[in-house]
Symmetry: C2
Subunit: 395 residues, 2 copies
């Protein structure tokens, strides 16, 4: 036994630089079996992912709308390129740092579906537009002073940007409130030659999660009607409105098949999550399957109480805890690095120490953002391990 109070010699300084940093630690290698993946890992079922993507692109093609998937869900160049290869025009994102990753990684059309405020951020945006002047980069506005600052920094940086006027279509978050305000702001954009007025951003976030089909459809139609009113007013005022863009996984089928949206922005459909699963399915719309999971290990076991090695740092709980893919057990408590599985009936499997459990995250977007890697699995075998390139890009 060592003396716990004995002084510990200083480490040789050489260790400092030679130790592998764990963000480079990959939970799996191609060819590994599902059960070999280190935990807690984010696992993507590629067959389901492919099917989800194909269904969305087919539905959009049938409706004649463009698809610009929201990359805030996946933050991955591998996925963005698969979406573009399947026919997406490019991606949306929320942050300049994300746009840097996607443009830098070869995606040629990126829309920041968000307002960017403050000269430091606006200058960074203009610099990005300048570097990628051969690509498309767009941003949303809902304020006059920001349009003027944006124009100024674009002139200073010799850059040009696509601009969308955001209309509040029921989200109560950002965007101008009325068609008249949209016209006034669009006129302001038109005054600045560095800025290209592209159209309207019209996203009804809260509509996505209305549980019943009629409520969800009605919320989507109300949002579309607001967007349509703004578009009419723009056109009557002689202003361009090439693109009305918006819509998400919950409402895309109504958005795509109405006559308002030219482009839809669904994000979660590639993965799905426990929250979206609580939406009543519209049987007239394509169905998406859970493709994204957290793989966890039973690290402690007492009778009908199992502790998993995945907690708040492996999945977000803003839409409830993750849900096991097997019956008979549920997660009743989540702490930083642990989840507590308890038996609720006899229908499920026996659980042994070291067993691995697949969980469906409550909310996919903030869950993906916790991880450095997505382990891409097909038929139980690891096909590839993808970096989550824009993980943590909050700026």
């Amino acid at each position: 036994m060592r003396d716990p109070l004995a002084p510990i010699p200083r480490r040789p300084d050489a260790w400092l630089d030679s130790t592998p940093m764990s963000s480079h630690w990959m939970p799996a290698q191609p060819g590994d079996k599902l059960a070999d993946i280190d935990t807690p890992a984010l696992v993507l079922d590629l067959d389901r992912f492919d099917a989800n993507l194909e269904r969305m692109m087919a539905a959009a093609a049938a409706a004649g709308v463009r698809v610009r998937p929201h990359a805030k869900s996946h933050k991955s160049l591998q996925i963005a390129h698969r979406q573009v290869a399947a026919g997406a025009v490019g991606v949306c994102c929320q942050k300049i740092g994300e746009a840097e990753v996607f443009l830098g990684g070869g995606v040629r059309d990126v829309l920041i579906t968000n307002e960017i405020v403050g000269v430091r951020k606006l200058r960074r945006l203009a610099q990005l537009a300048k570097v990628f002047s051969g690509a498309r980069l767009g941003v949303c506005v809902d304020d006059f002073s920001v349009v003027r600052q944006l124009s100024l920094v674009c002139a200073e940086e010799d850059a040009g940007l696509d601009v969308y006027v955001e209309v509040d279509v029921g989200q109560n978050r950002a965007g101008v409130a009325t068609p008249e305000e949209a016209v006034e702001l669009a006129r302001e954009v038109m005054r600045h030659p560095r800025l290209t007025l592209m159209g309207l951003q019209a996203y009804a976030g809260s509509a996505q999660h209305r549980r019943g089909v009629p409520e969800r459809r009605d919320a989507a139609r109300r949002a579309a009607a607001k967007a349509a009113a703004a578009r009419s007013q723009l056109r009557e005022s002689g202003l361009a409105c090439e693109i009305v863009t918006g819509g998400g996984t919950g409402t895309f089928i109504y958005d795509a098949n109405g006559d308002v949206y030219d482009e839809i922005q669904p994000g979660s459909f590639i993965f799905m999550d426990a929250d979206y699963a609580r939406n009543q399915a519209d049987t007239d719309a394509p169905q998406f399957e859970h493709s994204l999971f957290i793989l966890a290990t039973v690290m402690s076991l007492r009778g009908d109480r199992a502790t998993l090695d995945a907690g708040l740092k492996a999945f977000s709980t803003d839409s409830g805890p993750a849900r096991p893919t097997f019956t008979g057990w549920h997660i009743h408590a989540v702490s930083d690095e642990h989840s507590m599985l308890t038996r609720i009936d006899e229908s499920g499997p026996a659980i042994r120490l070291g067993a691995k459990a697949l969980l469906i995250p409550g909310h996919c977007d903030p869950t993906v953002n916790l991880h450095d890697w997505i382990v891409a699995v097909r038929k139980g075998k690891v096909e590839d391990v993808w970096r989550i390139d824009a993980r943590g890009m909050v700026f």
Copy 2:
């Protein structure tokens, strides 16, 4: 106006490697003013941090216990070294990846207060112990088969490890249930010459957040009594129990001043959060102040409704949303990258577009884990920007 449907030329391939990756994007530089920090950023008030650390070390010194702060809260070498310089014996962590960071960064005594299960993980742990054989590395156990596997991989890797038997003292998560089981498991540890039986891990997580002082104190005492019973049984059986370690920010004062714990493991005290602030203060114990904040920007404004640029990817909401440091406003909704501030009365400041707001996170540990940087501020000026070295180390 550009034609939105025009084909976009391929980018020059050179961009791929030359684009700066945004995880290197630092939100501030030393010398910047608070208002210049890019948002959403994690901001640490150094005067308060220093005072919190000093108060904890003084209370522990007065009680005659060792302090091993929990590094899962901060995941930062800068902070770990400050804790050691203030008298901490080393740090705790939860994951092997965290232990790699802290040992690799020069912390010489690391305890993983967690069970490690599975041969792949155990081998990584043994390899780490071998590389840092001049330092102390400990781990917790609550299962016979794991002890035997640990011994095997230690033999294979020519490594030795400190081992603590975890006792369930009320957390209902991991740990053996009875003193008799603790003795049996400790005997098993003693059979393996590569493993050094150090003592008991006894952490009552749920006791930390009991709101009333009497309930919290009683829960701490019940936990300590269970730890004491296991220690007695170990000693009566002729087994070593040099260290009983455990306790957190909510109960440390009772743990430190009882006669059971040799070492306390508080983590959150350096930062505090909105959840700990809901604990009734024990006026006999040192008080800790909020030192950790999210700095956010008002990115859209409509009357008494302001949208901040910090959401689920800038702070965790498992213990409720972040709380403004100013009166008159509260956060009523949080989405991926946004929080909605609404006015609740006239006591607060007027808010303008572009204004910055300081928020107190609901739960510090998972909030820190979302960020790459902590901006260390003293008297309104940036003193340093620290990497969150073990951010995202879930393996």
